[in-house]
């Protein structure tokens, strides 16, 4: 009458169980994102060159996403834009994570530190995100740096809250008290005992911030405060497409936006499933 036995799957034809499905989704989504990133990095720059012989072509086999008013292939532009978005997203979400690591650990050092952090979180949540990114962008004179720092500076609040709660829970554990009683410093305890527990949380946190980061980057660029108009960013492509909407060149707007949606969705799914794998409680639906 032993209980707690694992479920066996017999044969390949049986439907996958939740664990297998989750792992499969994680692999597929990672592959998709990596493929897009590498193809944009190693893209032939020829593809982005202007060719006035093939202006404003609707989607065809040769140009699946059509061409723009300068005859550039929209698929190539979109891929390049996605690559750029992913890069900006990676930088920005890393910055956000670093800020929340720092603030999270800082908040563990005492009551005053904790209230400073919670005040900062409140403060950053009380201005509309987009407006704040615009302000930071203006302050840094626009461009990639402005947008990366702007996005990075606005996405740490959620993760910091999670980390603060987590640290409060870890701090009640006995070994923390013992270490403190042995005269170890706050910094030592934070580094040796608290940080290692949080690393998985931070990694997952970065992945979960990422989709928001690229969406905000594209938005800010679209409004004209982000990446420069010379870059093939998705926000630029879409803002340019607005001029040609009434001319009926729908493909200029449809495909680049849809591609961005797919990338964001892929990373969302990736994060969601990693989270499930780490915390099985979430899978109990």
């Amino acid at each position: 009458m032993s209980t707690a036995f694992p479920m066996n799957n017999k044969g390949l034809l049986r439907p996958l169980n939740l664990r297998q499905r989750t792992i499969l989704l994680i692999i597929l989504m990672s592959l998709l994102v990596i493929t897009i990133l590498t193809s944009s990095l190693y893209m032939d720059s020829e593809l982005l060159s202007t060719n006035f012989g093939s202006k404003n072509l609707a989607p065809s086999l040769e140009h699946p996403f059509g061409t723009d008013w300068m005859g550039r292939d929209m698929l190539a532009r979109t891929l390049a834009g996605l690559g750029l978005s992913i890069m900006v997203g990676i930088f920005a979400s890393t910055i956000s994570t670093l800020i929340s690591v720092f603030l999270g650990l800082f908040s563990s050092m005492g009551k005053t530190a904790d209230s400073i952090v919670s005040w900062l979180v409140d403060l950053f949540l009380s201005i509309p995100h987009l407006l704040l990114i615009i302000l930071v962008s203006i302050g840094l004179g626009g461009g990639a740096t402005g947008v990366i720092i702007g996005v990075g500076l606005t996405h740490w609040a959620g993760l910091t809250r999670v980390v603060r709660a987590e640290i409060k829970q870890i701090k009640t554990q006995d070994y923390i008290h013992i270490s403190r009683n042995f005269g170890k410093s706050y910094v030592w305890v934070a580094r040796k005992h608290i940080l290692p527990h949080l690393i998985p949380k931070f990694m997952l946190g970065t992945i979960l911030i990422f989709p928001h980061a690229i969406l905000h980057e594209a938005s800010v660029t679209f409004l004209g405060f982000g990446l420069s108009p010379h870059e093939p960013a998705i926000g630029i492509i879409l803002s340019e497409s607005m001029k040609y909407l009434s001319a009926g060149y729908w493909w200029l707007a449809l495909f680049p936006g849809l591609s961005l949606l797919i990338v964001v969705l892929a990373v969302d799914i990736l994060g969601e499933n990693l989270g499930k794998l780490m915390d099985p409680k979430k899978a109990h639906e």
Partner: protein
């Protein structure tokens, strides 16, 4: 009752102090950020025009290029305390007038989108939660995931492509018809220009509220009291209505009020796509053309807007929910 009014007094004082502090920090930080900018507003203004050095000096004076930041801030603050937000450099009228006009337009947009997303999101969330695990639930969940991943401005673009350009049901952009005097613009005209942006903005707000409602309903439906209601023969939609909706509604409304920040951000983008003459579009203009007084005014008003949303959520939580009220009484 006495405890109640004392709590109210403490609550109010705290919130007012918090608001003052918040406004001060936000305005200083915004002004500092804008002042850091390497972008020269005068050369943007001049553009391709050729002007004499004297004219340039006048313009620099007008834009306040050479005034130190702290001096600018103190001047600005002094005027604000007198109730004067300054004059907009690009619209050449008082900032308060610009904001009044633009905010009214934005408010109409945001309020209709807010209601739309709230009602639609709540209903979808309840349906998904009720049908948890079935294909209905899966469709609603997938729909929400896709919405969450959709760039706001792109959805607005696509809607404009389909409904304005292709089907011609709605005008392409602008809050009022071009070439019509302001007093001749009818309510119907305004409405026509409002519908599409409001739907675009509202649709995007559906996802968070639907997901939250769904999860909360599932939680409620697996609670002891729903179990007991089931044990007493209640079932189906009646059960969800009697116990589920009752217990989910308050948290969902609270969440909807906490979403003012996202709502404003979304309005900024949607207004830009539809050329809707709201506060968001003014913010973008002010940002691009370095209209510092207007930008500061907009930052403050939007901060106040978000603050009010959070405040209402707090009031619901602390004063309306009977469970919280009771807990505090006992404490």
């Amino acid at each position: 009752m006495k405890a109640e009014s004392k709590k109210l007094a403490i609550f109010t004082t705290k919130k007012i102090l918090k608001l003052i502090c918040l406004m001060a920090v936000v305005s200083i930080a915004s002004l500092w950020l804008v002042d850091q900018s390497p972008i020269d507003p005068v050369s943007i203004y001049i553009g391709a025009m050729s002007i004499t050095p004297e004219q340039k000096a006048i313009l620099e004076e007008y834009w306040g290029v050479n005034t130190p930041a702290h001096e600018k801030y103190l001047n600005w603050l002094g005027n604000v305390l007198k109730g004067d937000l300054g004059d907009s450099l690009i619209y050449r009228m008082p900032v308060s007038d610009v904001i009044k006009e633009r905010f009214t337009a934005s408010l109409a947009l945001m309020a209709s989108a807010w209601l739309l997303s709230g009602v639609l999101g709540f209903v979808l969330g309840i349906v998904a939660g009720m049908k948890n695990g079935t294909w209905v639930d899966k469709i609603i969940k997938t729909y929400c995931y896709i919405l969450l991943a959709t760039p706001t401005f792109w959805l607005a673009l696509v809607m404009m492509l389909v409904f304005s350009v292709h089907l011609g049901w709605f005008p392409v952009g602008l809050g009022v018809p071009i070439g019509v005097a302001a007093e001749e613009v009818t309510v119907l005209d305004r409405l026509k220009h409002l519908i599409l942006p409001a739907i675009a903005l509202g649709l995007l707000g559906v996802a968070p509220i639907a997901m939250f409602t769904r999860e909360k309903l599932i939680e409620v439906m697996s609670s002891d009291y729903v179990l007991f209601a089931k044990a007493r023969g209640e079932k189906g939609f009646g059960l969800v209505l009697r116990h589920g909706v009752r217990n989910v509604a308050l948290p969902a409304i609270t969440l909807q009020f906490l979403g003012f920040s996202e709502l404003f951000g979304g309005a900024l983008l949607v207004e830009q796509v539809f050329s809707y003459p709201g506060l968001g579009r003014a913010a973008v203009e002010a940002g691009i053309r370095s209209d510092v007084p207007l930008l500061l005014g907009i930052v403050l008003i939007s901060t106040l807007f978000v603050f009010v949303g959070n405040l209402i959520a707090d009031i619901i939580y602390q004063f309306v929910d009977p469970r919280i009220r009771q807990q505090e009484m006992e404490a």
